[in-house]
Amino acid sequence: MRLGIRTRLSALAWEMWLPVVVVIACLVVTADSTSFYFPSFAEIFERTGELWFFDGIVENVVPSLLRILIGFAIALVVGIVGGIVLGLLPRFEQAVRPILEFLRATPGVALMPIAIIFLGIGDTMKIFLIALASMWPILLNTIDGVRSVEPVLLRMAASYRLPMKTRIRYIYVPNAAPQIFAGARLALTIATVVMVVTEMIGSPGGIGYFILDSQRSFNILNMWSGIVVLGVLGYLLNFGARLVEGRVLDWHNKKNA
Protein backbone atom coordinates (compact mmCIF):
# COMPACT_ATOMS: atom_id res chain seq x y z
CA MET A 1 0.00 0.00 0.00
CA ARG A 2 1.54 3.23 -1.09
CA LEU A 3 -0.42 5.94 0.58
CA GLY A 4 0.46 9.58 0.80
CA ILE A 5 1.93 10.73 4.07
CA ARG A 6 -1.14 12.89 4.74
CA THR A 7 -3.57 10.03 4.34
CA ARG A 8 -1.42 7.89 6.60
CA LEU A 9 -1.27 10.57 9.27
CA SER A 10 -5.00 11.13 9.18
CA ALA A 11 -5.61 7.38 9.42
CA LEU A 12 -3.30 7.22 12.41
CA ALA A 13 -5.10 10.13 14.03
CA TRP A 14 -8.43 8.40 13.54
CA GLU A 15 -7.04 5.23 15.07
CA MET A 16 -5.57 7.08 18.02
CA TRP A 17 -8.29 9.35 19.26
CA LEU A 18 -10.71 6.86 20.79
CA PRO A 19 -8.16 4.80 22.75
CA VAL A 20 -6.67 8.03 24.12
CA VAL A 21 -10.08 9.34 25.09
CA VAL A 22 -11.01 6.05 26.74
CA VAL A 23 -7.83 5.90 28.80
CA ILE A 24 -8.19 9.51 29.92
CA ALA A 25 -11.87 8.99 30.71
CA CYS A 26 -11.02 5.95 32.83
CA LEU A 27 -8.34 7.90 34.65
CA VAL A 28 -10.67 10.81 35.35
CA VAL A 29 -13.79 8.83 36.25
CA THR A 30 -12.00 6.50 38.64
CA ALA A 31 -9.62 9.17 39.99
CA ASP A 32 -11.21 9.38 43.42
CA SER A 33 -13.04 6.12 43.28
CA THR A 34 -14.09 4.74 46.61
CA SER A 35 -15.56 1.58 45.14
CA PHE A 36 -14.08 -1.57 46.59
CA TYR A 37 -14.14 -3.45 43.32
CA PHE A 38 -13.02 -0.71 40.98
CA PRO A 39 -10.08 1.15 42.45
CA SER A 40 -8.65 4.12 40.62
CA PHE A 41 -6.71 3.51 37.44
CA ALA A 42 -3.68 5.40 38.61
CA GLU A 43 -3.40 3.24 41.72
CA ILE A 44 -3.64 0.06 39.67
CA PHE A 45 -0.83 1.18 37.41
CA GLU A 46 1.27 2.19 40.36
CA ARG A 47 0.75 -1.18 42.00
CA THR A 48 1.48 -2.95 38.75
CA GLY A 49 4.80 -1.17 38.53
CA GLU A 50 5.70 -2.01 42.13
CA LEU A 51 4.65 -5.63 42.03
CA TRP A 52 5.68 -6.79 38.63
CA PHE A 53 8.94 -5.01 37.90
CA PHE A 54 10.84 -7.20 38.19
CA ASP A 55 10.12 -9.63 41.01
CA GLY A 56 6.67 -10.53 39.77
CA ILE A 57 7.90 -11.08 36.25
CA VAL A 58 10.46 -13.64 37.42
CA GLU A 59 8.08 -15.27 39.85
CA ASN A 60 4.87 -15.40 37.85
CA VAL A 61 5.21 -14.23 34.26
CA VAL A 62 8.15 -16.44 33.35
CA PRO A 63 6.48 -19.69 34.47
CA SER A 64 3.28 -18.78 32.63
CA LEU A 65 5.16 -17.84 29.51
CA LEU A 66 7.24 -21.02 29.56
CA ARG A 67 4.14 -23.16 29.95
CA ILE A 68 2.26 -21.59 27.10
CA LEU A 69 5.29 -21.56 24.80
CA ILE A 70 6.17 -25.20 25.46
CA GLY A 71 2.54 -26.29 25.23
CA PHE A 72 1.96 -24.33 22.08
CA ALA A 73 5.19 -25.61 20.51
CA ILE A 74 4.12 -29.20 21.18
CA ALA A 75 0.71 -28.46 19.70
CA LEU A 76 2.34 -26.98 16.60
CA VAL A 77 4.67 -29.91 16.04
CA VAL A 78 2.08 -32.61 16.70
CA GLY A 79 -0.64 -30.73 14.83
CA ILE A 80 1.40 -30.04 11.72
CA VAL A 81 3.10 -33.44 11.51
CA GLY A 82 -0.12 -35.26 12.33
CA GLY A 83 -2.04 -33.09 9.92
CA ILE A 84 0.34 -33.80 7.05
CA VAL A 85 0.28 -37.52 7.74
CA LEU A 86 -3.51 -37.62 7.97
CA GLY A 87 -3.82 -35.34 4.96
CA LEU A 88 -1.76 -37.77 2.92
CA LEU A 89 -3.81 -40.76 4.06
CA PRO A 90 -7.34 -39.71 3.10
CA ARG A 91 -8.91 -43.10 3.74
CA PHE A 92 -7.47 -43.39 7.21
CA GLU A 93 -8.37 -39.77 7.93
CA GLN A 94 -11.97 -40.37 6.88
CA ALA A 95 -12.15 -43.29 9.27
CA VAL A 96 -10.81 -41.46 12.32
CA ARG A 97 -12.60 -38.20 11.51
CA PRO A 98 -15.50 -38.77 13.94
CA ILE A 99 -13.05 -39.41 16.77
CA LEU A 100 -11.08 -36.28 15.94
CA GLU A 101 -14.25 -34.21 15.73
CA PHE A 102 -15.40 -35.51 19.07
CA LEU A 103 -12.10 -34.74 20.78
CA ARG A 104 -12.02 -31.30 19.22
CA ALA A 105 -15.56 -30.51 20.32
CA THR A 106 -14.83 -31.46 23.92
CA PRO A 107 -14.08 -28.25 25.83
CA GLY A 108 -10.51 -28.47 27.12
CA VAL A 109 -11.61 -27.66 30.65
CA ALA A 110 -13.80 -30.77 30.80
CA LEU A 111 -10.68 -32.88 30.29
CA MET A 112 -8.94 -31.21 33.19
CA PRO A 113 -10.14 -33.57 35.94
CA ILE A 114 -8.95 -36.51 33.86
CA ALA A 115 -5.59 -34.89 33.27
CA ILE A 116 -5.29 -34.15 36.97
CA ILE A 117 -5.95 -37.82 37.81
CA PHE A 118 -3.01 -38.93 35.71
CA LEU A 119 -0.59 -36.06 35.84
CA GLY A 120 -1.29 -34.29 39.10
CA ILE A 121 -1.59 -30.52 39.36
CA GLY A 122 1.95 -29.64 38.37
CA ASP A 123 3.50 -28.29 35.21
CA THR A 124 3.16 -31.56 33.29
CA MET A 125 -0.61 -31.42 33.51
CA LYS A 126 -0.71 -27.76 32.54
CA ILE A 127 1.53 -28.14 29.53
CA PHE A 128 -0.28 -31.29 28.47
CA LEU A 129 -3.67 -29.60 28.56
CA ILE A 130 -2.44 -26.48 26.76
CA ALA A 131 -0.94 -28.65 24.04
CA LEU A 132 -3.99 -30.90 23.79
CA ALA A 133 -6.61 -28.16 23.62
CA SER A 134 -4.73 -25.98 21.17
CA MET A 135 -3.70 -28.83 18.88
CA TRP A 136 -7.07 -29.38 17.16
CA PRO A 137 -7.39 -26.19 15.12
CA ILE A 138 -3.83 -26.66 13.86
CA LEU A 139 -4.34 -30.34 13.06
CA LEU A 140 -7.64 -29.90 11.26
CA ASN A 141 -6.46 -26.87 9.32
CA THR A 142 -3.30 -28.66 8.25
CA ILE A 143 -5.40 -31.56 6.95
CA ASP A 144 -7.57 -29.15 4.99
CA GLY A 145 -4.53 -27.32 3.65
CA VAL A 146 -2.79 -30.49 2.52
CA ARG A 147 -6.03 -31.64 0.94
CA SER A 148 -6.54 -28.50 -1.10
CA VAL A 149 -3.32 -28.77 -3.14
CA GLU A 150 -3.92 -28.24 -6.84
CA PRO A 151 -4.27 -31.67 -8.48
CA VAL A 152 -2.22 -30.39 -11.42
CA LEU A 153 0.76 -29.88 -9.14
CA LEU A 154 0.41 -33.39 -7.79
CA ARG A 155 0.21 -34.85 -11.28
CA MET A 156 3.30 -32.90 -12.17
CA ALA A 157 5.06 -34.27 -9.11
CA ALA A 158 4.00 -37.78 -10.06
CA SER A 159 5.25 -37.33 -13.62
CA TYR A 160 8.63 -36.17 -12.42
CA ARG A 161 8.69 -38.91 -9.80
CA LEU A 162 9.53 -36.46 -7.07
CA PRO A 163 10.29 -38.25 -3.81
CA MET A 164 7.78 -37.83 -0.99
CA LYS A 165 10.20 -35.68 0.99
CA THR A 166 10.43 -33.17 -1.81
CA ARG A 167 6.68 -33.15 -2.34
CA ILE A 168 6.07 -32.41 1.31
CA ARG A 169 8.71 -29.72 1.45
CA TYR A 170 7.90 -27.89 -1.79
CA ILE A 171 4.25 -28.64 -2.49
CA TYR A 172 2.27 -29.63 0.57
CA VAL A 173 3.77 -27.42 3.25
CA PRO A 174 3.84 -24.14 1.28
CA ASN A 175 0.31 -24.79 0.10
CA ALA A 176 -0.98 -25.52 3.57
CA ALA A 177 0.98 -22.74 5.31
CA PRO A 178 -1.70 -20.01 5.18
CA GLN A 179 -4.30 -22.41 6.56
CA ILE A 180 -1.91 -23.64 9.23
CA PHE A 181 -1.34 -20.07 10.38
CA ALA A 182 -5.06 -19.37 10.48
CA GLY A 183 -5.43 -22.41 12.73
CA ALA A 184 -2.41 -21.47 14.82
CA ARG A 185 -3.85 -18.06 15.60
CA LEU A 186 -7.08 -19.60 16.86
CA ALA A 187 -4.99 -22.14 18.78
CA LEU A 188 -3.04 -19.40 20.51
CA THR A 189 -6.25 -17.87 21.87
CA ILE A 190 -7.36 -21.25 23.17
CA ALA A 191 -3.91 -21.91 24.64
CA THR A 192 -4.05 -18.66 26.61
CA VAL A 193 -7.45 -19.49 28.07
CA VAL A 194 -6.38 -23.00 29.02
CA MET A 195 -3.16 -21.67 30.54
CA VAL A 196 -5.07 -19.32 32.82
CA VAL A 197 -7.66 -21.95 33.76
CA THR A 198 -5.08 -24.59 34.61
CA GLU A 199 -3.15 -22.09 36.67
CA MET A 200 -6.26 -21.14 38.58
CA ILE A 201 -6.77 -24.76 39.61
CA GLY A 202 -3.23 -25.99 39.94
CA SER A 203 -0.18 -25.31 42.03
CA PRO A 204 1.24 -21.86 42.89
CA GLY A 205 3.26 -19.93 40.33
CA GLY A 206 1.77 -18.27 37.29
CA ILE A 207 -0.39 -15.24 36.57
CA GLY A 208 -3.66 -17.14 36.72
CA TYR A 209 -2.86 -18.41 40.18
CA PHE A 210 -1.79 -14.94 41.28
CA ILE A 211 -5.05 -13.35 40.14
CA LEU A 212 -7.29 -15.91 41.80
CA ASP A 213 -5.18 -15.92 44.95
CA SER A 214 -5.35 -12.12 45.23
CA GLN A 215 -9.10 -12.26 44.79
CA ARG A 216 -9.47 -14.89 47.51
CA SER A 217 -7.50 -12.73 49.92
CA PHE A 218 -9.54 -9.68 48.81
CA ASN A 219 -6.45 -7.90 47.63
CA ILE A 220 -8.26 -6.12 44.85
CA LEU A 221 -5.39 -3.93 43.72
CA ASN A 222 -3.13 -6.94 43.30
CA MET A 223 -5.86 -8.72 41.40
CA TRP A 224 -6.29 -5.81 39.01
CA SER A 225 -2.56 -5.56 38.47
CA GLY A 226 -2.54 -9.27 37.59
CA ILE A 227 -5.34 -8.73 35.10
CA VAL A 228 -3.42 -5.86 33.52
CA VAL A 229 -0.25 -7.94 33.22
CA LEU A 230 -2.15 -10.88 31.76
CA GLY A 231 -3.83 -8.58 29.25
CA VAL A 232 -0.48 -7.20 28.17
CA LEU A 233 0.96 -10.71 27.92
CA GLY A 234 -1.97 -11.88 25.80
CA TYR A 235 -1.66 -8.88 23.55
CA LEU A 236 2.08 -9.33 23.12
CA LEU A 237 1.70 -13.04 22.34
CA ASN A 238 -0.82 -12.24 19.65
CA PHE A 239 1.34 -9.47 18.32
CA GLY A 240 4.36 -11.77 18.17
CA ALA A 241 2.33 -14.41 16.35
CA ARG A 242 1.24 -11.86 13.77
CA LEU A 243 4.82 -10.72 13.29
CA VAL A 244 6.01 -14.27 12.67
CA GLU A 245 3.13 -14.88 10.31
CA GLY A 246 3.88 -11.72 8.35
CA ARG A 247 7.48 -12.85 7.96
CA VAL A 248 6.77 -16.42 7.00
CA LEU A 249 3.84 -15.75 4.72
CA ASP A 250 5.46 -12.77 3.04
CA TRP A 251 5.70 -14.59 -0.30
CA HIS A 252 2.06 -15.58 -0.09
CA ASN A 253 0.76 -12.11 0.67
CA LYS A 254 2.85 -10.63 -2.12
CA LYS A 255 1.48 -13.18 -4.53
CA ASN A 256 -2.08 -12.35 -3.58
CA ALA A 257 -1.63 -8.61 -3.43
Binding site: W14, P19, A105, I117, Q179, I211, L212, G226, G231, L237
Partner: protein
Protein backbone atom coordinates in the same frame (compact mmCIF):
# COMPACT_ATOMS: atom_id res chain seq x y z
CA UNK B 1 -15.51 -28.13 4.84
CA UNK B 2 -15.44 -28.26 8.56
CA UNK B 3 -15.43 -25.57 11.18
CA UNK B 4 -11.75 -25.07 10.60
CA UNK B 5 -12.20 -23.44 7.25
CA UNK B 6 -14.29 -20.93 9.10
CA UNK B 7 -11.18 -19.46 10.63
CA UNK B 8 -10.21 -18.00 7.29
CA UNK B 9 -12.54 -14.98 7.29
CA UNK B 10 -11.54 -14.21 10.87
CA UNK B 11 -8.05 -13.78 9.69
CA UNK B 12 -9.09 -11.82 6.65
CA UNK B 13 -7.98 -8.35 7.54
CA UNK B 14 -6.50 -6.36 4.75
CA UNK B 15 -5.06 -9.39 3.07
CA UNK B 16 -6.81 -12.73 2.89
CA UNK B 17 -4.36 -15.26 4.35
CA UNK B 18 -6.12 -18.24 2.86
CA UNK B 19 -6.19 -18.42 -0.89
CA UNK B 20 -9.55 -18.51 -2.53
CA UNK B 21 -10.26 -22.02 -3.67
CA UNK B 22 -10.19 -21.73 -7.40
CA UNK B 23 -8.75 -24.46 -9.53
CA UNK B 24 -10.20 -27.87 -10.10
CA UNK B 25 -12.18 -29.34 -7.25
CA UNK B 26 -11.80 -32.91 -8.36
CA UNK B 27 -10.16 -34.00 -5.12
CA UNK B 28 -12.95 -32.77 -2.89
CA UNK B 29 -15.55 -34.39 -5.11
CA UNK B 30 -13.70 -37.67 -4.80
CA UNK B 31 -13.46 -37.15 -1.05
CA UNK B 32 -17.19 -36.55 -0.84
CA UNK B 33 -17.86 -39.81 -2.61
CA UNK B 34 -15.67 -41.61 -0.14
CA UNK B 35 -17.52 -40.07 2.77
CA UNK B 36 -20.77 -41.54 1.57
CA UNK B 37 -19.31 -45.00 1.29
CA UNK B 38 -17.04 -44.80 4.31
CA UNK B 39 -19.38 -45.50 7.19
CA UNK B 40 -17.87 -48.91 7.86
CA UNK B 41 -14.26 -47.74 8.36
CA UNK B 42 -15.54 -45.03 10.69
CA UNK B 43 -17.32 -47.54 12.88
CA UNK B 44 -14.29 -49.83 12.75
CA UNK B 45 -12.06 -46.96 13.89
CA UNK B 46 -14.35 -46.09 16.80
CA UNK B 47 -14.64 -49.72 17.89
CA UNK B 48 -10.87 -50.16 17.60
CA UNK B 49 -10.26 -47.09 19.77
CA UNK B 50 -12.68 -48.32 22.41
CA UNK B 51 -11.13 -51.79 22.35
CA UNK B 52 -7.66 -50.32 22.75
CA UNK B 53 -8.85 -48.25 25.68
CA UNK B 54 -10.41 -51.33 27.27
CA UNK B 55 -7.19 -53.31 26.82
CA UNK B 56 -5.00 -50.55 28.26
CA UNK B 57 -7.34 -50.13 31.21
CA UNK B 58 -7.37 -53.87 31.90
CA UNK B 59 -3.65 -54.31 31.47
CA UNK B 60 -1.48 -54.35 34.60
CA UNK B 61 0.25 -51.16 33.44
CA UNK B 62 -2.45 -48.97 34.94
CA UNK B 63 -4.77 -49.82 37.77
CA UNK B 64 -8.48 -49.63 37.08
CA UNK B 65 -8.82 -47.13 39.90
CA UNK B 66 -7.24 -44.36 37.89
CA UNK B 67 -8.27 -45.35 34.37
CA UNK B 68 -11.76 -46.79 34.23
CA UNK B 69 -12.61 -49.10 31.33
CA UNK B 70 -15.07 -47.90 28.68
CA UNK B 71 -17.56 -50.42 30.01
CA UNK B 72 -17.40 -48.82 33.44
CA UNK B 73 -17.77 -45.36 31.91
CA UNK B 74 -20.81 -46.36 29.86
CA UNK B 75 -22.25 -47.97 32.95
CA UNK B 76 -21.69 -44.72 34.89
CA UNK B 77 -23.24 -42.74 32.06
CA UNK B 78 -26.37 -44.90 32.14
CA UNK B 79 -26.45 -44.52 35.91
CA UNK B 80 -26.27 -40.75 35.56
CA UNK B 81 -29.01 -40.73 32.93
CA UNK B 82 -31.29 -42.09 35.60
CA UNK B 83 -30.44 -39.31 38.04
CA UNK B 84 -32.05 -35.91 38.29
CA UNK B 85 -28.80 -34.14 39.10
CA UNK B 86 -27.40 -34.99 35.69
CA UNK B 87 -30.33 -33.62 33.72
CA UNK B 88 -30.63 -30.53 35.89
CA UNK B 89 -26.94 -29.79 35.41
CA UNK B 90 -27.17 -30.35 31.67
CA UNK B 91 -30.27 -28.17 31.44
CA UNK B 92 -28.69 -25.37 33.45
CA UNK B 93 -25.53 -25.39 31.38
CA UNK B 94 -27.49 -25.34 28.13
CA UNK B 95 -29.77 -22.54 29.29
CA UNK B 96 -26.89 -20.38 30.49
CA UNK B 97 -24.95 -21.06 27.31
CA UNK B 98 -27.89 -20.17 25.09
CA UNK B 99 -28.68 -16.99 27.02
CA UNK B 100 -25.06 -15.87 26.92
CA UNK B 101 -24.73 -16.60 23.22
CA UNK B 102 -28.01 -14.86 22.39
CA UNK B 103 -26.94 -11.79 24.32
CA UNK B 104 -23.56 -11.79 22.56
CA UNK B 105 -25.34 -11.99 19.21
CA UNK B 106 -27.73 -9.17 20.06
CA UNK B 107 -24.81 -6.96 21.08
CA UNK B 108 -22.14 -8.12 18.68
CA UNK B 109 -23.89 -8.40 15.33
CA UNK B 110 -25.55 -4.95 15.09
CA UNK B 111 -22.55 -3.22 16.59
CA UNK B 112 -20.16 -5.02 14.24
CA UNK B 113 -22.28 -4.21 11.20
CA UNK B 114 -22.53 -0.55 12.18
CA UNK B 115 -18.81 -0.24 12.76
CA UNK B 116 -18.09 -2.12 9.56
CA UNK B 117 -20.15 0.20 7.36
CA UNK B 118 -18.10 3.25 8.27
CA UNK B 119 -14.42 3.58 7.57
CA UNK B 120 -14.01 6.17 10.32
CA UNK B 121 -15.72 3.98 12.89
CA UNK B 122 -13.51 1.06 11.90
CA UNK B 123 -10.38 3.12 12.25
CA UNK B 124 -11.46 4.61 15.55
CA UNK B 125 -12.25 1.29 17.14
CA UNK B 126 -9.43 -0.74 15.60
CA UNK B 127 -7.05 -0.60 18.54
CA UNK B 128 -9.69 -1.10 21.18
CA UNK B 129 -11.19 -4.13 19.46
CA UNK B 130 -7.73 -5.49 18.73
CA UNK B 131 -6.77 -5.16 22.35
CA UNK B 132 -9.87 -6.70 23.84
CA UNK B 133 -10.04 -9.63 21.51
CA UNK B 134 -6.44 -10.60 22.17
CA UNK B 135 -6.53 -10.45 25.96
CA UNK B 136 -7.75 -13.59 27.70
CA UNK B 137 -11.13 -12.61 29.16
CA UNK B 138 -10.98 -15.55 31.54
CA UNK B 139 -8.66 -13.35 33.61
CA UNK B 140 -11.71 -11.34 34.63
CA UNK B 141 -13.35 -14.40 36.18
CA UNK B 142 -12.18 -13.61 39.73
CA UNK B 143 -13.51 -10.06 39.45
CA UNK B 144 -16.86 -11.10 38.01
CA UNK B 145 -17.02 -13.79 40.68
CA UNK B 146 -16.62 -11.14 43.35
CA UNK B 147 -19.32 -8.96 41.81
CA UNK B 148 -21.99 -11.58 41.18
CA UNK B 149 -20.98 -14.64 43.17
CA UNK B 150 -21.33 -18.17 41.82
CA UNK B 151 -24.53 -17.48 39.91
CA UNK B 152 -25.69 -17.78 36.35
CA UNK B 153 -25.39 -14.00 36.05
CA UNK B 154 -21.67 -14.38 36.63
CA UNK B 155 -21.52 -17.06 33.94
CA UNK B 156 -23.49 -15.04 31.42
CA UNK B 157 -21.27 -12.02 31.99
CA UNK B 158 -18.21 -14.14 31.37
CA UNK B 159 -19.74 -15.67 28.24
CA UNK B 160 -20.67 -12.31 26.77
CA UNK B 161 -17.26 -10.85 27.56
CA UNK B 162 -15.56 -13.58 25.56
CA UNK B 163 -18.09 -14.65 22.93
CA UNK B 164 -19.00 -11.18 21.71
CA UNK B 165 -15.67 -10.62 19.93
CA UNK B 166 -15.80 -13.25 17.19
CA UNK B 167 -19.33 -12.13 16.33
CA UNK B 168 -18.40 -8.46 16.37
CA UNK B 169 -15.32 -8.92 14.22
CA UNK B 170 -16.99 -11.24 11.72
CA UNK B 171 -19.90 -8.79 11.40
CA UNK B 172 -17.43 -6.00 10.73
CA UNK B 173 -15.85 -7.96 7.90
CA UNK B 174 -19.30 -8.92 6.67
CA UNK B 175 -20.37 -5.30 6.37
CA UNK B 176 -17.14 -4.47 4.54
CA UNK B 177 -17.51 -7.08 1.87
CA UNK B 178 -20.96 -6.01 0.70
CA UNK B 179 -20.64 -5.38 -3.03
CA UNK B 180 -20.35 -1.57 -3.58
CA UNK B 181 -22.05 -1.93 -6.94
CA UNK B 182 -25.11 -3.39 -5.26
CA UNK B 183 -25.16 -0.52 -2.82
CA UNK B 184 -25.13 1.95 -5.68
CA UNK B 185 -27.92 0.11 -7.49
CA UNK B 186 -30.01 0.17 -4.36
CA UNK B 187 -29.42 3.89 -3.98
CA UNK B 188 -30.10 4.71 -7.60
CA UNK B 189 -33.42 2.90 -7.48
CA UNK B 190 -34.31 4.56 -4.16
CA UNK B 191 -35.22 1.27 -2.62
CA UNK B 192 -36.74 1.64 0.85
CA UNK B 193 -34.66 0.99 3.95
CA UNK B 194 -36.67 -2.06 4.89
CA UNK B 195 -36.14 -3.57 1.46
CA UNK B 196 -32.48 -2.68 1.54
CA UNK B 197 -32.08 -4.57 4.78
CA UNK B 198 -34.11 -7.48 3.55
CA UNK B 199 -32.72 -7.91 0.04
CA UNK B 200 -29.23 -6.45 0.17
CA UNK B 201 -27.85 -6.55 3.68
CA UNK B 202 -29.30 -9.73 5.11
CA UNK B 203 -28.18 -11.97 2.22
CA UNK B 204 -24.78 -10.31 1.89
CA UNK B 205 -23.67 -10.56 5.49
CA UNK B 206 -25.28 -13.80 6.62
CA UNK B 207 -22.46 -16.21 5.75
CA UNK B 208 -19.80 -14.22 7.58
CA UNK B 209 -22.06 -13.72 10.57
CA UNK B 210 -22.71 -17.46 10.73
CA UNK B 211 -18.99 -18.13 10.82
CA UNK B 212 -18.74 -15.77 13.76
CA UNK B 213 -21.67 -17.50 15.40
CA UNK B 214 -19.98 -20.86 15.15
CA UNK B 215 -16.77 -19.57 16.71
CA UNK B 216 -18.74 -17.80 19.42
CA UNK B 217 -20.82 -20.86 20.19
CA UNK B 218 -17.67 -22.91 20.85
CA UNK B 219 -16.10 -20.13 22.89
CA UNK B 220 -19.29 -19.71 24.91
CA UNK B 221 -19.38 -23.41 25.80
CA UNK B 222 -15.75 -23.35 26.88
CA UNK B 223 -16.48 -20.31 29.06
CA UNK B 224 -19.65 -21.80 30.53
CA UNK B 225 -17.86 -24.94 31.66
CA UNK B 226 -14.79 -23.03 32.86
CA UNK B 227 -16.93 -20.65 34.89
CA UNK B 228 -18.78 -23.58 36.42
CA UNK B 229 -15.67 -25.58 37.12
CA UNK B 230 -13.61 -22.79 38.64
CA UNK B 231 -16.30 -20.39 39.78
CA UNK B 232 -18.61 -23.05 41.17
CA UNK B 233 -21.84 -22.00 39.48
CA UNK B 234 -24.30 -24.87 39.09
CA UNK B 235 -24.04 -26.93 35.91
CA UNK B 236 -21.94 -29.59 34.22
CA UNK B 237 -18.65 -28.03 35.27
CA UNK B 238 -19.61 -28.05 38.95
CA UNK B 239 -20.79 -31.68 38.79
CA UNK B 240 -17.50 -32.56 37.15
CA UNK B 241 -15.64 -30.91 39.97
CA UNK B 242 -17.80 -32.70 42.60
CA UNK B 243 -17.20 -36.09 41.01
CA UNK B 244 -13.50 -35.37 40.83
CA UNK B 245 -13.35 -34.57 44.52
CA UNK B 246 -15.38 -37.65 45.38
CA UNK B 247 -12.89 -39.80 43.39
CA UNK B 248 -15.69 -41.16 41.23
CA UNK B 249 -13.51 -41.73 38.21
CA UNK B 250 -16.04 -43.34 35.83
CA UNK B 251 -18.44 -40.48 36.54
CA UNK B 252 -15.71 -37.94 35.79
CA UNK B 253 -15.21 -39.58 32.40
CA UNK B 254 -18.94 -39.75 31.84
CA UNK B 255 -19.33 -36.02 32.46
CA UNK B 256 -16.35 -35.18 30.26
CA UNK B 257 -17.91 -37.26 27.48
CA UNK B 258 -21.21 -35.47 28.02
CA UNK B 259 -19.42 -32.15 27.53
CA UNK B 260 -17.87 -33.51 24.34
CA UNK B 261 -21.23 -34.65 23.01
CA UNK B 262 -22.65 -31.24 23.87
CA UNK B 263 -19.85 -29.57 21.91
CA UNK B 264 -20.49 -31.85 18.92
CA UNK B 265 -24.23 -31.21 19.03
CA UNK B 266 -23.81 -27.46 19.23
CA UNK B 267 -21.52 -27.46 16.23
CA UNK B 268 -23.87 -29.75 14.31
CA UNK B 269 -26.86 -27.54 15.07
CA UNK B 270 -25.11 -24.38 13.87
CA UNK B 271 -23.94 -26.11 10.69
CA UNK B 272 -27.42 -27.52 10.06
CA UNK B 273 -29.00 -24.12 10.64
CA UNK B 274 -26.53 -22.60 8.20
CA UNK B 275 -27.42 -25.20 5.56
CA UNK B 276 -31.09 -24.64 6.17
CA UNK B 277 -31.04 -20.86 6.07
CA UNK B 278 -28.29 -20.28 3.54
CA UNK B 279 -29.00 -23.08 1.08
CA UNK B 280 -29.06 -20.50 -1.73
CA UNK B 281 -25.59 -19.13 -0.97
CA UNK B 282 -23.07 -19.89 -3.74
CA UNK B 283 -20.41 -21.12 -1.30
CA UNK B 284 -22.77 -23.49 0.49
CA UNK B 285 -24.12 -24.78 -2.81
CA UNK B 286 -20.62 -25.42 -4.06
CA UNK B 287 -19.90 -27.46 -0.94
CA UNK B 288 -22.98 -29.57 -1.40
CA UNK B 289 -22.44 -30.01 -5.08
CA UNK B 290 -18.84 -31.01 -4.62
Amino acid sequence: MTATTATAPVAAKAKPPVPAKTGPRATSAAAAKRTGAGLVPKIVAIVATLALWQLVAMSPLVDTDSLPTPVMVVDALFGLWGSDAYWTALGTTLRVWATGLALSAVIGIPLGLLIGTSLRATQSTRWIIDFFRSIPTIALLPLVLLLFGATSRMEITMIVLSAVWPLLIQSMYAAKQVEPLHKWVVRVFRISTADRLRYLWAPSVSLFVFTGLRLSATMALLMTISAEYIGGAPGLGLELSHMEQAFKRPEVFAYAITAGILGLLINAIVVAAQRRLLWWHPIIREERGA
